[in-house]
């Protein structure tokens, strides 16, 4: 990143909510349906139709506000943002302007240079989405209003980020939170989580902000980083050459990795915001906020800390497992059944994740339930099977849905713990590898593994490796 100037970034994130119905009418917000099939007089903006606020949208906004340390306004107001566009049926968008539902929040992010850093969240407000224009050949376009009136949260940060990396860290954290809360599916490509970045630069030490450009069309973390970095360079070069940055909206071009001006389309809009007289002020009681707070899931930050402090997991393991709510819940269900948290974490990050990836299924559909997996882990813990055999048992449980005990029984996988039987195999191995045994005796410890391995092989994996080790030690001493 350019070091000639200090970079200042503020982000506006649009989060599409996962409610069943739209924000101001009862239409389903199923996507991929026939154009204009998910519409009614309200979302078509027909004469005389009136909006009625979807309670679930308010609840989701409160959740997002609480999870980002915002104050929830006891009274907030919907406002009309007036502009003409064919995808905007009423000629105005119902949004919130002067009194949004959430204000004064913050998130902590991890930065490479400075450790933890607090990023302010100015506000979160509710609004409706517009429809979509389908541009066909020739000079006409088609309007699809299925998406019109679907609920969005707009989450506006303070201009607190000082690099593209900080911006990405903030966005990833916010993304994780809204997905965790279950209010958003997090799909960036499909636009469920979209970001506009306000980017400016200023000479080091200057307090006043530089003129900002607003970057749009950023639909992946990678593009956001590219776009910000390109824009910073562009502004720095411009200023160094004696030019000035103009306040404008710039579109990111993913193919070229550049941003270009949208000027002309965007000339100083006056949106003529005013309170929407069709909607009464939204009053949110303390009781409502408390009940939402009480039902909030544990957030990733808190899980991360708890996994380390209470379960003794290494930071890496805690990070991987807490990153995704469903995985964390799987892990927590497992830990409740099996008390060795580290072993649980190894299996969740290892076999479970591998098998899920290979089969392309989410953890919520994992055929090996935490109960079944705990059954396997118990048999390792009580020495019935070795860790290695356990992996084949896992495969069988995955494929058949049977319990570990059933499979161990059916396949005769029970570990050999009979000292006599193991000793006789060990004796055969020593007899067949007399030379190496002498070397081992002479202090070449590395060969321990060889002998244990040979015994395991000869026993088809069923010998208890711990006992093999003990017996081998005895032979060496003897």
């Amino acid at each position: 990143m350019d070091s000639r100037y200090e970079v200042v970034i503020g982000l506006e994130v649009h989060v599409q909510l996962t409610t069943k119905t739209k924000i101001f009418c009862g239409c389903s917000k199923d996507f991929g349906q026939q154009p204009n099939s998910q519409t009614c007089p309200v979302c078509l903006g027909l004469p005389g139709a009136l909006p009625v606020l979807n309670r679930q949208v308010v609840e989701d906004a409160i959740k997002a506000g609480l999870a980002t340390n915002c104050q929830i306004a006891p009274r907030s107001i919907f406002a009309r943002k007036n502009y003409f566009y064919p995808d905007l049926p009423k000629g105005y968008q119902i949004s919130q302007f002067e009194l949004p539902i959430c204000e004064h929040g913050w998130l902590n992010i991890e930065t490479e240079e400075n450790g933890q850093k607090k990023i302010g969240i100015t506000r979160i407000h509710m609004e409706e989405d517009a429809g979509k224009l389908l541009h066909s050949d020739g000079d006409s376009s088609q309007v699809d209003l299925n998406r019109a009136c679907t609920p969005l949260l707009e989450i506006v940060s303070e201009p607190d980020m000082r690099s593209a990396d900080e911006a990405i860290a903030y966005l990833k954290q916010l993304h994780q939170i809204v997905v965790y809360l279950g209010v958003c599916d997090g799909n960036m490509e499909e636009g469920s989580f979209r970001c506009d970045a306000n980017v400016s630069i200023r000479p080091w030490g200057q307090e006043e902000f530089g003129t900002r450009a607003e970057l749009k069309n950023l639909n992946s973390f990678r593009f956001i980083k590219q776009a910000i970095e390109y824009e910073v360079e562009r502004q720095a070069d411009l200023i160094d050459d004696g030019g000035t940055v103009v306040q404008e909206t710039r579109l990111f071009d993913a193919d070229k990795g550049t941003t270009r001006s949208m000027r002309g389309k965007e000339e100083a809009h006056d949106y003529r915001y005013f309170p929407d007289p069709d909607l009464v002020p939204l009053v949110v009681s303390d009781d409502w906020v408390d009940s939402v707070r009480g039902a909030l899931p544990e957030l990733p930050d808190s899980k991360l800390a708890r996994y380390q402090q209470e379960l003794g997991l290494p930071a890496y393991d805690a990070g991987v497992i807490s990153a995704e709510r469903d995985l964390a819940e799987y892990f927590e269900a497992l830990v409740a059944l099996h008390d060795n948290a580290k072993v649980c974490a190894n299996w969740v990050m290892g076999e479970v994740s591998r098998a899920l990836n290979e089969n392309g299924i989410p953890v919520t559909a994992c055929p090996v339930s935490p109960q079944l997996l705990a059954g396997i882990l118990e048999r390792i813990a009580d020495n019935t099977i070795s860790g290695k055999i356990a992996k084949t048992v896992f495969e069988d449980v995955w494929n058949t849905g049977k319990t570990a005990d059933q499979i161990i029984d059916e396949k005769g996988l029970k570990q050999v713990t009979d000292t006599g039987a193991i000793e006789s195999i060990l004796d055969e191995v020593i007899a067949a590898n007399q030379g190496q045994f002498e070397e081992l005796k002479g202090g070449k410890d590395k060969l321990t593994g060889f002998f244990v391995g040979q015994v395991m092989k000869a026993s088809k994996g069923k010998a208890n490796p711990g006992m093999v080790n003990q017996l081998l030690k005895k032979k060496l001493e003897g």
Binding site: V52, R80, P277, D278
Partner: protein, 488 residues
């Protein structure tokens, strides 16, 4: 007495006794409309087939013993109400071809009771006007004098009742649009408290002021119709969840002991002498009926018209943005791109007064002017509402003229919007205050034109308003019917 001269309560008895059928009654009305509408022009759309089908269905219900006060009664709607399958123009060229796919809640409520919808009534375009001269369907002529306006914007709704082209009608009132035409046409009109009646499906002019209400031949019909449409509607967030009283049950309770306030700001110099005289006689009548007459003050009255023309136009400028030619209505597109399509559609589709108000409202909401105009007007509105609430601490009702003059001549004020705006000077404050008001006939001018008396009630006290109106109506005889050319 002609069938078409009768009231809801009279017709209800004859329908329920089987003396007449709804089909016959509807036929009589359709015939009357055919005879008289060329001189009145109250109807934009006459729904003959649908009305006769409604009537036949009503007759079946009645035969099965399922009869409500409105079952089989021929009514008509201001063309601002969405009504499924019927053309709904709102008096505008821009909606000339708009056939609504849905019913307004109020229309659905009337249909559920078995009412017959005769058609859609003329009005000032988008309810903007005080004379019904701003209609794409041409002016409505006052049944009392064809040279004169019927008032507006519900001019068709008032004229149709006076001309016996419907038993009763629904209108809307944003700044006087029910009460002023009711006064000019000599019928009873009621603007309910804001939130009393659902606005869902009623084309919006100024959302924070618009309210649906009845126009009828007498107070009892007015009470009946209000009772049928009033009440909470989950589809309208501004409708109020509060039980609807039985207006008919208390209608005849009288005004003995009621305190009636006369706001001194409403008895001004510019008041027409005949109007003044008629209202003064009405005051005497109330005194005789046992009411106590009290002098009160509504000190912010002078600001009401200015305040109204900022708030109403601001809301209208936004409400009318949806008429863009994209999804419905008449589109003009002469191939100059999207902006060109918007400009051509709206330039051709809207009339002069609508354009004037869109521009006024757009200006009032503009960045840099918002605080000085819209926000200031909202503050003044609060003061005006407080004036009324303060007055109602001491009195039960207020009594005022409805309009400063009787109906004026067609064309008389079209070139002077400010004079036109002042014809609503006594009705506008009631909308700003969000309370209820009623207009009822209280005499005729020297020219034989009806004069209206306005009663203003406390929020949600429509029952008291109707009681006081009924007491006056019962004690006087001002409910004459105008003679049309077709009647002579």
């Amino acid at each position: 007495m002609q069938l078409t001269d009768q009231t809801i309560h009279q017709l209800h008895q004859r329908l329920s006794s089987g003396e007449i059928s709804s089909v016959a009654l509807t036929e009589a009305y359709l015939q009357r409309i055919e005879q008289t509408d060329p001189e009145v022009n109250a109807y934009i759309t006459i729904c003959r087939d649908a009305a006769l089908a409604d009537a036949a269905a009503a007759d079946k219900r009645i035969a099965a013993g399922d009869i409500d006060l409105l079952t089989g009664i021929p009514l008509a709607l201001k063309d601002i109400f969405n009504s499924e399958g019927l053309r709904t123009t709102c008096g505008s060229k821009i909606l000339d071809n708009f056939v609504s796919p849905y019913d307004a809640t109020t229309v659905a409520r009337l249909k559920a009771r078995g009412a017959v919808i005769l058609g859609k009534l003329n009005m000032d375009e988008f309810a903007m006007g005080s004379s019904n001269e701003n209609s794409a369907a041409g002016p409505v002529r006052n049944p009392w004098d064809g040279e004169r306006v019927p008032g507006g914007s519900s001019g068709g709704s008032a004229a149709a009742v006076a001309a016996r082209q419907a038993v009763a009608t629904l209108g809307t009132d944003t700044g006087g649009s029910i009460r002023q035409p009711a006064a000019h046409c000599g019928v009873v009109g009621l603007k309910p408290t804001y939130g009393r009646v659902s606005r869902y499906g009623v084309i919006a002019y100024a959302s924070s002021l618009d309210q649906v209400g009845p126009l009828a031949r007498d107070v009892e019909d007015c009470a009946t119709l209000l009772g049928a449409v009033a009440g909470y509607d989950p589809a309208d967030s501004t409708s109020v969840d509060r039980p609807v009283p039985d207006y008919l049950a208390t209608l005849k309770d009288g005004v003995n002991g009621k305190r009636i306030g006369l706001p001194r700001e409403y008895f001004i110099d510019g008041l027409d002498a005949d109007v003044k005289c008629a209202v003064e006689r009405a005051i005497e009548t109330y005194r005789t009926l046992g009411a106590e007459i009290v002098d009160v003050s509504l000190p912010h009255t002078d600001y009401a018209v200015a305040c109204y023309y900022l708030i109403a136009t601001a809301e209208a400028s936004s409400n009318l943005a949806r008429y863009d030619g994209v999804r419905f209505g008449v589109r003009r597109d002469e191939g100059e791109g999207l902006i060109g399509m918007y400009q051509q559609t709206r330039a051709a589709g809207f009339g002069e007064e609508v354009k004037r108000r869109i521009m006024l409202g757009t200006y009032a909401l503009s960045s840099g002017y918002y605080d000085a105009y819209y926000l200031k007007a909202q503050k003044v509105r609060t003061l005006i509402r407080q004036d009324f609430l303060d007055a109602f601490e001491n009195v039960d009702l207020l009594l005022t003229p409805v309009a400063p003059t009787p109906a004026f001549k067609i064309g008389e004020k079209v070139d002077d919007p400010l004079q036109m705006y002042l014809s609503d000077i006594f009705t506008i404050p009631v909308n700003l205050a969000g309370t209820c008001g009623l207009s009822l006939p209280c005499g005729l001018s020297a020219d034989g034109l009806p004069i209206g008396l306005q009663l203003i009630g406390k929020p949600f006290a429509e029952d008291e308003l109707l009681q006081a109106a009924w007491a006056f109506e019962n004690a006087t005889d001002f409910s004459q019917l105008p003679q049309l050319a077709a009647d002579r």
